[in-house]
Each structure stands twice: as structure tokens, then as C-alpha cells.
């Protein structure tokens, strides 16, 4: 039982930055933009989070700095994509390279280091203990004692779902994603919604970055996001940009990652095999999704 609750607890922790970035990815997808800049937004935000928390001596300032930074990167990306009509993939790659090189450069210039940056006295977000929750068997030890952003993330999943399915703006957003020109002809401000969703994506990636560098750990390491933005993108494809299905995709990945970490030291399987589990799970699931879509296609008359 202990092993199960440990596994579930780790899954929640591992999944959080991926869910946040995946929500960012799905909002972009909903306005018809494939966002591969998630990784860069997260990384820049993770760096800003440490800086903000360190100089202000307050973790909350770090979170705000992360959100603002994520949105700034998103704004630059949006201007290039929407105003200058840059190729989505090229602009996304550029944003990622800029974030990687930029944070590396600043580390060197400001702190004369190239590896890890963990200023003494840096305060993290800490953990939340909900009174009474830990007393509940099984659920208690799984749900209690996470970083505050873990709980915020699940609230955001619910809010995103309500936004897209139950609000006028949300329905308009989906219309833009379906057919931007048609949406424009009926008076929907497509361009403005695209800017809005990309900025929201930047903010969500900001939270993801803050969770990595202030929530789970209290330090910044060069390239510490390590491909999580792309994992999130895979989850978006898995969930066809629907909030709950995308979240499920993120959890599947997080679960298999938490599982492979434990399999490495419990069963005698070579680490090369266990390490592919999370990635294999994504490949299998994506294949299954596209097979279902293929089966469900309208048959030609």
C-alpha cells in the first residue's frame, strides 16, 4: 500500500509542470496554433522565478516574475507568428533557442556560473497541508503535502474546461480554431483571441517553470526543463486539445515515468528498457488515438 501511495504521490508531482504546459499547448491549439515554444517559455520562467524569489526574498514574487516572463516570451512569439506571419515551427524553435541561450548567458554574466544556480537563502514555495486530509486513508497521503502549485494546477484544469465549453469567449476561441476566416466573417475578433490565448499560454508555462524551480526544487539548472514542453505537446495531441483528455495524457506520461523510476531498482530489467516506458506509453496511446480517428472517419459514398 505504501508503495502505491508513494507512486501516486510522485505521479502528481511529476505531472504538474507537464499538465500546466499542456493546458498552454491546448489553448494555443484551440486557436489553430501549434505551440512548440512551450519549452522555452517554461525555461525562461523557471529562471525568472529563482531570480524574483531571491531578490525579493519572497517566493510569491518569484511566481509573478515567472508568469510575466512566460507571457513576455509568448508575446514575442505571438508578434512574430501573428503579425509578421513567421512560420510557427521556426518561430517556436527560435523562442526555445533564445530561452536556452539567454538563460545560459545571463547565468554566466550575472553569476559567473554555467551549471546550477542556487543562491543561499532562496525560499521555495513550501508544501501545503490541508487540515484533516492526511487522516483519510489512501487519499490522504496521496493528496496532502504537495507544493501549492499542484493544487492550483487542478483548479486550472477545471477552469480551462469551463472556459472552453461553457463561456461565450471559449466557444468563440474554438470557432477560431476550427476556421479562423469563417469566424472573422461572423464578427469574432480572431486575431485578438489568438493573441489572448498565446498570452494565457505564456502565463501557464510561467507557472510550470515556477513549479520546477521554486516548487519541486529551489534552484535553476541550465536546460532544466529537459523536454517537458514537448511531452506536454504530445499530451495535447493525445487529448485532441480537450482539457480533461489532455490532462489524462499528461498523467499517463507522469505515471509511467514514476513507475519506471521504481522499476529500475526493484526488478532486474536493464535501465535502457525501463527508461523508454513513458515515451513508449505516448507512442502507443497516440497510435491508438489516430487509429480510432481513422476508424471513425466518414466513409466515402
Amino acid at each position: 500500500m505504501q508503495a502505491f501511495t508513494d507512486l501516486a504521490f510522485a505521479t502528481l508531482r511529476l505531472t504538474t509542470p507537464i499538465i500546466l504546459a499542456a493546458l498552454a499547448g491546448l489553448l494555443s491549439q484551440q486557436v489553430g496554433l501549434i505551440n512548440i515554444a512551450l519549452e522555452g517559455m517554461m525555461l525562461a520562467a523557471a529562471f525568472a522565478a529563482v531570480l524574483g524569489a531571491f531578490y525579493a526574498q519572497h517566493a510569491l514574487v518569484g511566481v509573478v516574475a515567472a508568469v510575466v516572463t512566460g507571457m513576455l516570451v509568448a508575446l514575442v512569439f505571438a508578434v512574430f507568428v501573428l503579425r509578421f506571419r513567421a512560420n510557427l515551427i521556426v518561430a517556436g524553435l527560435a523562442a526555445n533557442i533564445l530561452a536556452l541561450g539567454g538563460t545560459g548567458y545571463l547565468l554566466q554574466v550575472l553569476y559567473q556560473t554555467r551549471g546550477a544556480f542556487a543562491p543561499p537563502g532562496l525560499r521555495g514555495l513550501g508544501t501545503v497541508h490541508i487540515p484533516g486530509l492526511s487522516q483519510i486513508p489512501i487519499l490522504g497521503p496521496i493528496l496532502d503535502g504537495h507544493s501549492p502549485l499542484v493544487y492550483v494546477t487542478w483548479v486550472l484544469v477545471i477552469l480551462t474546461s469551463i472556459f472552453l465549453n461553457r463561456t461565450v469567449t471559449g466557444l468563440r476561441v474554438r470557432a477560431v480554431g476550427e476556421q479562423a476566416e469563417a469566424a472573422t466573417t461572423v464578427g469574432i475578433p480572431a486575431r485578438r483571441l489568438q493573441y489572448g490565448m498565446l498570452l494565457a499560454a505564456g502565463g501557464l508555462c510561467g507557472l510550470a517553470g515556477a513549479q520546477m524551480s521554486l516548487g519541486n526544487l529551489q534552484l535553476f539548472v541550465y536546460n532544466m526543463t529537459n523536454g517537458r514542453g514537448f511531452m506536454a505537446l504530445a499530451a495535447v495531441f493525445f487529448g485532441q486539445a480537450q482539457p480533461w483528455a489532455t490532462t489524462l495524457g499528461s498523467v499517463v506520461f507522469g505515471f509511467f515515468d514514476a513507475l519506471q523510476i521504481r522499476l529500475q531498482t526493484t526488478v532486474g530489467v536493464p535501465p535502457q528498457i525501463t527508461q523508454i516506458l513513458p515515451f513508449l506509453s505516448i507512442v502507443v496511446v497516440l497510435t491508438w488515438v489516430s487509429w480510432r480517428r481513422y476508424r471513425a472517419r466518414p466513409v466515402a459514398a
Binding site: 551549471g115 546550477a116 526544487l217 529537459n226 515515468d257 527508461q275
Partner: protein
């Protein structure tokens, strides 16, 4: 490509050691990935070089590149053309371009670390990381049984996190396991790999999982991923073991010790041999416990919690290995 070459050539023009007298030796040090300021490998090598410059009056130059891996051949060739007597590269991926460049400059001595290149004018330096790791494992195996030490559980389980499943990393891990089993055959060593050297979140997760399985000391052989290993130890009140440089200060009291690799010593020793005229090309210098090239940190923050008997035992083991009483397995020699 041409532009890079021109820029590189211009950059290197400035470092021709023209002002030196005929007897003053000139030494170049090519900085590896990560660059100066990494507070670890490169800085250690450069510190050895500057100390050698003070002690032996040689002229030195550190050569930094934005892309030391891709520009390997140009860096080596330009440095040799610039007239240095000894060109040391800290970048181990230079083994291939070095084998091409070295024969073109028979009057220049080259040196490379962590890998052997068999050319008549190349001196290779190899560290016996397995010996240092053996001591780390031995210490961990003694500490993990002692519940009087804070954060230690009664189970004889310790762990290690490797960056990748590769011979270079397993060399550390096998030495560590051997040291632990030498102290107590029943010590269980949990081994996990992060598959990345720059993912502290993964490092933390792997370490927490090992702690949950009963480990209380985890050795990190995973670069930046290891920051997460140390963070996990600090958070849960248990212990990590650092690697390469003295990482004890990162979480004082929670890094039991660090397995040091004395790159500074290696570079200093190369310059010393050059000045004394004993630098023989085609040789492989191995730096182990005997040469002081590897070893454990001074345990500044943990010495007061580790019983003296354990530290003494480790010291005795170090002496025994140096005396050749037994050998630690080196998996790269198979």
C-alpha cells in the same frame, strides 16, 4: 564554416606567445564544454594551470570556444601553429581530431584527459575514479548501519544515481558497490540512471524513490542532475555523496562526502613534467589514490557526525589500495 574559421584564426592570432624568451615554455589549455566559470571541471583545470605558471614561470593561455566539440580540430591545429610547447585539452571528445592533428606537429606535445590517444607526441591522463568511488562506497556502507547518526535507518541499503548507462559512469558505480560490499557483504546498493546530466527534477525523483525503498545515502554520478539528488537529501534529512569537485558546501551536513577528481593536479603535473623535461609522449598517466588524483573530500560539514573509527577505516583502506594489498575492479580495463 569559413567565417568561423576566420574568426577563430583572428582570435588565435592574439595568443601567439612572441614575448617569451627562448627558455620559457608555453602552455595552452583548451577549455571543455561548460566553459570557465563552471565551478567544477574547467575551473579546476585552469586553477592547476595558473598555479603551475606561478611555480614554474611558464607562459600560459586558456583557449575558450563557443563550441569546443564542433571546433575541435581547428582549436588544436591553431594552438599548435601558434607555437605552444604543450597543448592540453580538457575536452574528451577531442580524442578523434587529436589523433589527426598530432602527427602534423611532431615538435609539439599534446595532452588529453579522461581518454587515451596513442600517438608518439600525445600524453593521456586517466583518472582511477573507481578507486575514489570505492572509498565513498565503504564509508556509506559503514554509515548506513549506524542509527545513532541522524537520518540513518537500520536497513543496510545505499544508492547511486548514474547519468547514463555507460562504461564511463559504471566505472564509478562498480567501484562504489565494491567498496560497500567490502565493508559488509549484505549491503544492498540500489542503482538508477537518470538518462540525462542536466535534469535535477529527475535526479530528485530517483533519489526520493531510493529513499522510499530504504536507502539513506545516495551517491550522484550525474552532473547537473545531481543537484536534484542533493536537494532530495536535504529535504528529507538524509545524505548525498557529491562527485568530481567538493560539493559538500551545496547542502552542508547533508552531503556525506564528495568523490574528488583532481583535474587541477593533473594539469599542474603535466606542466611540471614539461618543465623538468620528463614529459614523455605516447604515455598514459593514470592518477589514482596513490597520486592523489582521486579521493574523498575533507568532509568539513559532516566530520563531526561521522564516528572517527569510520574515517580511520577509510583512511586505512586508502593506504591498503595504495600499497597494493588489493585492487579495485576497473571495468574499463576488461
Amino acid at each position: 564554416m569559413t567565417v568561423t574559421a576566420v574568426v577563430l584564426a583572428v582570435a588565435l592570432l592574439g595568443l601567439s606567445p612572441t614575448a617569451a624568451g627562448p627558455n620559457i615554455k608555453k602552455v595552452a589549455l583548451i577549455i571543455a564544454q561548460g566553459g570557465l566559470g563552471d565551478r567544477s571541471y574547467n575551473d579546476s583545470g585552469y586553477a592547476g594551470l595558473t598555479k603551475a605558471a606561478q611555480d614554474f614561470g611558464v607562459q600560459i593561455k586558456a583557449i575558450e570556444s563557443r563550441d569546443p566539440v564542433g571546433q575541435g580540430e581547428q582549436l588544436l591545429r591553431q594552438a599548435a601553429k601558434a607555437g605552444f610547447d604543450l597543448v592540453i585539452t580538457l575536452e574528451f571528445t577531442h580524442f578523434e581530431p587529436l589523433a589527426r592533428v598530432a602527427p602534423d606537429f611532431p615538435n609539439t606535445k599534446f595532452s588529453i584527459l579522461n581518454i587515451a590517444v596513442e600517438k608518439p607526441n600525445v600524453v593521456s591522463v586517466i583518472f582511477k575514479e573507481h578507486e575514489g568511488s570505492f572509498l565513498a562506497g565503504a564509508l556509506a556502507a559503514m554509515v548506513t548501519k549506524d542509527t545513532k547518526i541522524p537520518g540513518i535507518n537500520p536497513r543496510k541499503i545505499i544508492g547511486v544515481i548514474g547519468g547514463t548507462k555507460s562504461v564511463g559512469i559504471d566505472k564509478f558505480i562498480v567501484g562504489y558497490e565494491e567498496g560497500a560490499k567490502f565493508i559488509d557483504k549484505e549491503t544492498k546498493v540500489l542503482v538508477s540512471y537518470s538518462n540525462s546530466f542536466g535534469d535535477p527534477a529527475k535526479g530528485k525523483e530517483l533519489t526520493l524513490a531510493q529513499f522510499q525503498q530504504g536507502a539513506d545515502i545516495v551517491y550522484q554520478v550525474a552532473g547537473g542532475t545531481g543537484e536534484g539528488v542533493i536537494a532530495a537529501a536535504k529535504e528529507t534529512g538524509r545524505y548525498a555523496i557529491g562527485v568530481d569537485s567538493d560539493q559538500d558546501y551545496i547542502a552542508p551536513g547533508h552531503v556525506l562526502t564528495s568523490m574528488l577528481k583532481r583535474v587541477d593536479l593533473a594539469v599542474y603535473d603535466l606542466v611540471k613534467r614539461l618543465v623538468q623535461g620528463s614529459l614523455k609522449g605516447g604515455a598514459v598517466i593514470t592518477l589514482g589514490l596513490k597520486e592523489g588524483g582521486v579521493g574523498l573530500s575533507e568532509m568539513k560539514f559532516t566530520r563531526h557526525i561521522i564516528p572517527k573509527a569510520y574515517v580511520d577505516r577509510v583512511e586505512q583502506l586508502r593506504k591498503d589500495i595504495i600499497a597494493g594489498k588489493f585492487k579495485v575492479t576497473d571495468i574499463t580495463q576488461k
